[in-house]
């Protein structure tokens, strides 16, 4: 019997208490003159009983799951031979993994005797833990069940209690957004602080060289590693800039055409088609950029005598721009439609042509909203990962030439963290510092953008 089975049995038992509670309510009803004289519907009594019995059991189970492994592994570790205890933490971890492997799959050729005995001990501890848990759960369950059973009466305000619980559940669900934000902040902040303990923050923010490859052996060349993030920021900005140069005019003009010129039939076919572009996964764009656009740009450049890197910033930026077009166009579409018709009528009434009305009245009126939309688009471009991972380079060049290869913040995060890595080296930690930067920048951009858009909407509401 493992934990998932215990959980299943527990869940089934709790579900049963619902019917017990209902049954109890019906019995109570009989004694006081029918179902109608109960305070609440019998189902509420059932839910109340399930709630009372279920929540403590679930909490106990969750706590047990959280601490059970830690306590058992501590106990096992203490019983290992002295020689093992003196090993560094990572190697002890490996040995513990071997022990638990033996416990699960049986001994193999390489198992040492002390490991086998530790595995036996582990096995027995685990069994004891499970048995204790079952005993605790069962006795607690029965105790609560008996108490609730005895105290339930026809006057119990079951519905009010259940509704209180319901509201709490909803509140907790709504608060997950807060926990998520807090989780993000803490996860990147803690690791970043550890990173800044070994690499000064000024070097990270203002250093011009990025080569995070730490030497494995001290005698290796270039082993110290350099963590100056400026080339990464520059690369990110370059690619985002190229993307915006493509996406803003195209997206904006498309939105203007669709909302001001296009016939409804055209609008209702073209708009969803453009939105297909937004629904395509970024990994597809990345593939397109790396295998089609980048070689195309390189070959075209070669024809006119330019030397273009096969991982040029231009290719990645171009494809990212295409991806962002529908984003810009749908945000602009919203704000342009929010401009009151009366403003347009004013201009038309003076004899302005359509384009004059749009350029001189609609766009200026919608400008804050459009700017907000563009800021959101920029934040998206900065945070975009797959296109640049697949189509941009790895080497941190500090250049403004779009034909050369640059790298970005997101590319470095992926490169540093994909695959096996140790949690303690500055190389790994630097990815979290980059993540912190990325999170901060996008957060600020989003915040400003949402504020601008909100102000704009209030203006016309």
């Amino acid at each position: 019997m493992d934990f998932s089975q215990i959980f299943m049995v527990m869940a089934a038992t709790i579900a049963m208490t619902f019917f017990l509670g209902r049954f109890r309510a019906l019995k109570l009803g009989q004694t006081v003159g029918g179902r109608k004289s109960l305070n609440s519907l019998p189902t509420y009594y059932g839910s109340l009983m399930a709630m009372w019995c279920g929540i403590p059991c679930l909490i106990l189970f969750a706590l047990w799951m959280m601490f059970d492994d830690v306590i058992i592994s501590q106990a096992i570790m203490q019983e290992l031979p002295q020689a093992v205890l003196e090993l560094p933490a990572s190697e002890r971890g490996l040995i513990f993994n071997m022990v638990s492997n033996i416990a699960e799959n049986g001994a193999t050729a390489g198992s040492e005797p002390y490991m086998i005995s530790a595995a036996d001990r582990l096995q027995s501890l685990r069994e004891t833990s499970q048995l204790t848990l079952i005993a605790c759960l069962a006795s607690m369950f029965l105790l609560i069940l008996a108490t609730v059973w005895a105290r339930m009466s026809a006057q119990t305000r079951a519905r009010t209690h259940v509704e209180g619980g319901f509201k709490w559940v909803l509140l907790i669900c709504a608060s997950i957004a807060i926990f998520t934000t807090a989780g993000i902040v803490f996860s990147v902040l803690f690791e970043s602080i550890r990173f800044f303990q070994s690499v000064p923050i000024t070097e990270f923010l203002f250093g011009l060289e990025w080569s995070p490859q730490m030497a494995i052996r001290s005698d290796q060349v270039g082993g110290s590693g350099a963590f100056g993030a400026v080339p990464l920021f520059a690369g990110t900005l370059l690619i985002s800039l190229i993307a915006m140069v493509i996406a803003v005019p195209a997206g904006l003009m498309a939105a203007i055409y669709l909302s001001e010129y296009a016939r409804p039939a055209v609008r209702s076919t073209v708009k969803p088609l453009l939105e297909v572009l937004a629904g395509i996964p970024t990994v597809v764009y990345g593939f397109f950029a790396a295998l089609t656009v980048a070689p195309f740009i390189r070959d075209t450049g070669g024809l006119i005598g330019l030397s273009v890197s096969s991982e040029s910033a231009l290719a990645a930026g171009l494809v990212m721009g295409i991806m962002i077009i529908p984003f810009v166009s749908s945000l602009s579409d919203d704000v342009i439609n929010a401009v009151p018709q009366s403003l347009r009528d004013g201009a038309y009434g003076l004899g302005a042509t359509r384009s004059e009305t749009i350029k001189q009245v609609v766009i200026p009126a919608a400008l804050p909203g459009i700017v907000g939309g563009i800021l959101l688009a920029v934040s998206r471009a900065i945070g975009e990962t797959m296109i640049v991972v697949m189509a941009a380079g790895l080497a941190a060049n500090l250049t403004a030439n779009p034909l050369e290869s640059v790298t970005t913040v997101t590319v470095q995060i992926v490169t540093l963290l994909v695959g096996d890595q140790e949690f303690n080296s500055p190389k790994t930690l630097s990815a979290f510092a980059l993540g912190l930067m990325l999170f901060t920048i996008t957060l600020v951009l989003n915040y400003i953008a949402l504020l601008v858009v909100k102000k704009y909407r209030e203006q016309y509401e």
């Binding site: 029918g34 179902r35 109608k36 609440s40 305000r157 519905r159 009010t160």
Partner: protein, 299 residues
């Protein structure tokens, strides 16, 4: 606006505040001027055999006071009509009687409202049993997007009024008959309620309300969205229902008030100006504001 509440304050405050009233008298708006004339409620606000009693009720929306010190009784099996110009607070007052105003966060009710011995606004009073005893019919017919049967059966189901399906069928039929809708819908009980005509929908809503067997039915301009024929049917229905239920109805049609109610209460700018037997109100009103309203000088 602030100054107008002074005359109906408690007597000891009256003198202290009259100065304020004087200063505001420069207002040219007829409504505002007339508001100053509102004194204590005239007529007979109290009933000998009250079902619901309201004493010194004030209602606030945030800082704004919408109802000023209203005291009124609704007698057993009586139909009380509430009339007055739009925005006078009659709907707000009606919705206090079963705490429908609870849904508006900034709405605050002071004073005492009692349903027989039950204190409606007691902090521990649960609204659910209250609303089972005091039902409400709204201005616009609002059947649930479910079948006719389910609409009527909803109340009995959530309140656990029945134990067997046959009992429920019986309640549904009885309620629909009482709302004089049965003959029209008995063959399509499982068709959606939203497919009925406006008048039928409103009768369905009434059937839905009486299915719970409330003691009091509140009606908030129940005919304002209906055509004259549908209106006539509902009015007929109200008269029939008054044999069994206590009814408070808000209406902006004075003819309707005259036709269906026993007593009529006239509200003006959040104050209860006059309550009298309906005949008296429409033939010989006591208060000049009531007279001005029923003769069409404003409203």
């Amino acid at each position: 606006m602030q100054a107008v509440n002074t005359p109906i304050q408690k007597n000891e405050k009256l003198n202290a505040n009259t100065n304020g009233t004087d200063q505001k008298k420069t207002s040219t708006d007829e409504m505002n001027n007339s508001a100053a004339k509102v004194g204590k409620t005239v007529g007979k606000p109290f009933a000998t055999n009250p079902k619901m009693t309201m004493r010194n009720v004030d209602v606030f929306y945030g800082d704004k006071q919408a109802i000023h010190d209203v005291s009124l009784d609704i007698g057993k099996n009586e139909v009380v009509a509430m009339i007055g110009p739009s925005g006078c607070g009659k709907s707000t007052f009606l919705r206090c009687l079963n705490r429908m105003n609870d849904t508006i966060e900034i709405c605050q009710v002071k004073g005492e409202i009692k349903l027989e011995e039950m204190d409606v606004y007691h902090p521990k009073q649960d609204v659910v049993p209250l609303r089972a005893r005091v039902g409400i019919v709204f201005q616009k017919p609002n059947p649930f997007p479910k079948s006719i049967y389910d609409n009527v059966a909803y109340g009995p189901r959530i309140h656990g009024l029945v134990e067997r399906k046959t009992d429920l069928d019986e309640i549904v039929e009885k309620s629909l008959r009482r709302a004089s809708l049965w003959e029209e819908v008995k063959d399509r009980l499982h068709a959606p309620g939203t497919g009925l005509s406006g008048g039928q929908q409103q009768r369905l809503c009434i059937a839905r309300t009486i299915a719970v067997s409330p003691e009091v039915i509140l009606m908030d301009e129940p005919c304002s969205a209906l055509d004259p024929i549908a209106t006539a049917k509902i009015e007929e229905l109200i008269t029939e229902l008054s044999e069994k239920f206590t009814i408070a109805i808000v209406t902006h049609s004075m003819q309707q008030a005259a036709r269906v109610s026993h007593r009529t209460a006239y509200f003006h700018m959040g104050k209860l100006v006059e309550v009298n037997d309906t005949k008296r109100v429409f033939t010989n009103p006591e208060h000049e504001l009531t007279e001005a309203y029923i003769t069409g000088r404003f409203g």
